[in-house]
């Protein structure tokens, strides 16, 4: 009934929009060939390989670091596994100067932009070189030079911030936009509603990229919302929207490229829903066997986005078995070596406890810090990390 041309009706007819079907945009079949009717996207070899290398690197990093966590070398880890195309395909469609405000499962964006394995490891081990100064849990990366906002654990808080950031970009007129990533679970937060509505009203160049991976920890999407995904919410804000096969690297790239030009050239914010699946556990603390079946996982394992891209690349003769082997070996080695190096580095200096709370340490906090230092001097054995740092500092001097 809501598609009637009439302005007025004389019977109380209700609709819940169930009659709308939001189609999924796809280009690439699982065998690496294009769908019939799909136009080959413009993507040169260089770009394609940059993307593919980022996907492989992300996958290997995830595998190795989960293993490291299992070995007790790391306290915590979260994998992007299964969602590499959704994340990297979209980031690759942006300008590297665009701002990324991610949730936590988007390490692929960082890899793509050139965050080094060293930089990852320093954060994961919270050593003295961690940009975050060892203050946040593993996977809370950030990089100002790569325009990647430091991850914050409270879910969805970055979504209205992305609207604000993009408003600032629009005011500055620098032709940049902001993309914010979030899960279909986080989209239930009030901040999501605020962010999309404000973006639509103020015509802000922001892309809202919902990774619908089926689960929020143990909660399946069906207990998260009654609707057909997150996409139909765009109707409520009158915002451009598209649903994309999140395991299809070409479709993700095309859709995001188009979204970016809506955002930047027309000040139209866009909601992209990337349909995918969280192949791994929620995090290293989680065990999905309590809430979903192996069969379900197997179905999605068949849809691996990396394999799909590899088959496409091979079809184009841009990639070979040997290339694959070499990349995998190199990356595995680099990850392991870098890990060892990072793990050995001392923790951040003691004064990182009190710096950056404000631009300057206020007097009362400075006093607390003096007391702490005196206390540690009295009990050096009780504070091995501070002691370690002091030792290391001596060694290096």
């Amino acid at each position: 009934m809501t598609t009637t041309k009439a302005n007025v009706v004389y019977k109380p007819v209700f609709t819940d929009g169930a009659e709308f079907r939001i189609p999924t945009f796809r280009l690439l079949k699982q065998d690496g060939s294009l769908y019939k009717g799909a136009k080959a996207p413009e993507m040169d070899k260089e770009k394609a390989l940059r993307i593919y290398r980022a996907m492989i690197t992300t996958r290997i990093l995830d595998e190795r670091m989960l293993a490291a966590q299992r070995q007790g070398r790391l306290s915590f880890y979260m994998q992007c596994t299964g969602e590499e195309a959704a994340v990297i395909g979209s980031t690759a469609a942006l300008d590297d100067g665009d701002m990324i405000m991610a949730q936590y499962r988007e390490q692929g964006s960082l890899v793509y932009r050139g965050f080094t394995i060293d930089e990852f490891m320093n954060q994961l081990f919270g050593n003295e070189l961690d940009y975050g100064k060892g203050r946040q849990m593993p996977v809370h990366y950030g990089s100002s030079k790569l325009n990647y906002m430091t991850i914050s654990s409270p879910l969805a808080t970055q979504i209205p911030q992305a609207t604000g950031y993009a408003y600032g970009q629009k005011m500055a007129g620098d032709g940049h936009c902001t993309i914010t990533y979030f899960g279909e679970g986080a989209a239930s937060e009030g901040d999501f509603h605020a962010a999309l509505n404000m973006a639509a009203v103020h015509r802000v160049p922001v892309i809202f990229l919902c990774r619908n991976n089926g689960y929020a920890i143990s909660t399946p999407a069906a207990e998260q919302f009654a609707a057909d995904g997150v996409a139909p919410r765009a109707y409520g804000y009158k915002m451009d929207m598209i649903r994309v096969d999140g395991n299809d690297i070409l479709a993700m790239h095309e859709a995001t490229k188009a979204a970016r030009s809506l955002a930047v050239e027309h000040n139209r914010p866009v909601l992209i829903e990337a349909m995918s699946y969280r192949l791994a556990a929620h995090s290293s603390s989680d065990d999905p066997s309590g809430y979903r079946s192996k069969d379900e996982e197997a179905v999605w394992r068949e849809k691996d986005p990396i394999l799909r891209m590899r088959l496409w690349l091979e079809g184009k003769k841009w990639w070979s078995e040997d290339d694959e082997k070499e990349l995998q070996d190199t990356m595995r080695r680099e990850v392991l070596e870098t890990m060892k190096r990072a793990q050995k580095r001392p923790p951040p200096a003691l004064d990182t406890l009190v710096s950056d709370v404000y631009d300057e340490v206020p007097p009362a906090l400075a006093e607390q810090f003096e007391k702490l230092k005196a206390h540690i001097r009295r009990h050096p054995d009780a504070y091995p990390k501070s002691a370690e740092h002091a030792k290391q500092a001596k060694r290096e001097a």
């Binding site: 306290s75 915590f76 919270g126 060892g134 203050r135 946040q136 849990m137 809370h140 914050s152 654990s153 409270p154 879910l155 679970g185 986080a186 239930s188 937060e189 009030g190 901040d191 929020a216 920890i217 143990s218 909660t219 207990e223 998260q224 919302f225 603390s285 989680d286 309590g290 809430y291 923790p347 951040p348 003691l350 990182t352 406890l353 009190v354 709370v357 009362a364 906090l365 607390q368 810090f369 702490l372 206390h375 540690i376 009295r378 009990h379 009780a382 504070y383 990390k385 501070s386």
Partner: protein
């Protein structure tokens, strides 16, 4: 009596309450099939059905808004916030709504049935957002009760007390004790009183006061102090709001000294309220300044959390300083 860890005791309390009264409902993020990320609600959905124990969408303000409505209707909701660090989106529903429901309506309506459970505290390598102790943020809000248990026995009894208390109650669970703290827990339905501190150990030289996981820290510190010949009176505040001024003041009348400790930052922490009240109440009896041993005035760090936290050594030194003043 059964030996249980704190999680089991909490699970047992919920089970007890749900068995006794079908108006009791448990819900929150991942609380259903999965039994919560810490498993505090394990098996409750199996036992009581999906309509009484269920997952909610991921929206804390909605969880508490929903819970407020349920409580106003006469149900007895026990809502879980997955980590106390994530309770802030619900701050308005708690502070402006739950706390003021009865007062603003002249007692026509109330949400007394409401209990909000949340794991809190540090010491688990959780960094900024899996470590906070937000009790003081709520303690400025007349109309709320705030309870923190120190061990499995207390956890079951106080949680049942909170669920049956006719006022909205926040129940903060020291998550680093979830599995670490084990003890005998009665099998029956017993309810510990809210608003009453407990003197765990009598002493004459100094009163040492805390709550939750900090009671273990105090125990270690006091052991050290007693070796030095200092006689400590140890009090578990248990209820942060409204707090038991009488018990604390009576102790300080006797000892003349007070050390208060909590994990939350110093400034604006609840130790400040206690110190302010006790210095007024016991002014002529105080032999040394009331000492506060707390987290530092920073967000909660990760790698250096040991340095940040008010551990037994810091509490011990404060006891010493108080006695040596």
């Amino acid at each position: 009596m059964t030996q249980m860890n704190m999680l089991q005791a909490i699970n047992n309390a919920l089970d007890t309450a749900m068995a006794a009264d079908e108006r009791v409902l448990c819900f929150g993020e991942d609380v259903g099939v999965f039994g919560g990320v810490f498993r505090a609600t394990s098996h409750l959905q199996e036992k009581y059905g999906k309509s009484r124990c269920f997952n909610t969408p991921l929206v804390e303000q909605g969880i508490i808004g929903f819970a407020n409505g349920l409580a106003a209707q006469g149900s007895v909701p026990v809502a879980e916030i997955q980590f106390a660090d994530y309770i802030f989106p619900a701050f308005d529903q708690i502070v402006n709504e739950s706390a003021k429901y009865r007062y603003r309506s002249g007692n026509l309506f109330n949400v007394g049935g409401l209990t909000i459970r949340a794991p809190y505290g540090g010491g688990i390598a959780g960094g900024l957002y899996h470590s906070q102790s937000p009790e003081a943020y709520f303690a400025h809000t007349p109309g709320l009760k705030i309870v923190v248990p120190r061990n499995p026995h207390q956890a079951k009894g106080l949680l049942l007390g909170a669920i049956h208390d006719p006022n909205p109650t926040l129940f903060f669970e020291p998550k680093r004790l979830y599995r670490a703290s084990v003890g005998d827990v009665p099998d029956e339905d017993y309810r510990l009183p809210l608003g009453e501190a407990e003197v765990l150990k009598e002493g004459t030289d100094v009163t040492v006061l805390g709550w939750g996981a900090q009671m273990d820290v105090i125990e270690q510190a006091v052991e050290m102090a007693e070796k030095d010949g200092i006689s400590c009176e140890v009090i578990d505040l248990r209820t942060i709001l409204p707090w038991d001024v009488e018990t604390v003041a009576n102790s300080v009348f006797k000892t003349g000294r007070l050390v208060v400790t909590h994990e939350a930052p110093l400034t604006g922490g609840f130790a400040g309220e206690i110190a302010a009240t006790i210095q007024e109440r016991c002014f002529l009896y105080l032999e040394s300044p009331i000492a506060r041993v707390t987290g530092m005035d920073t967000p909660f760090p990760l790698v250096l959390e040991k340095e940040h936290l008010p551990n037994h050594l810091k509490v011990f030194e404060a006891i010493r300083a108080s006695v040596d003043f």
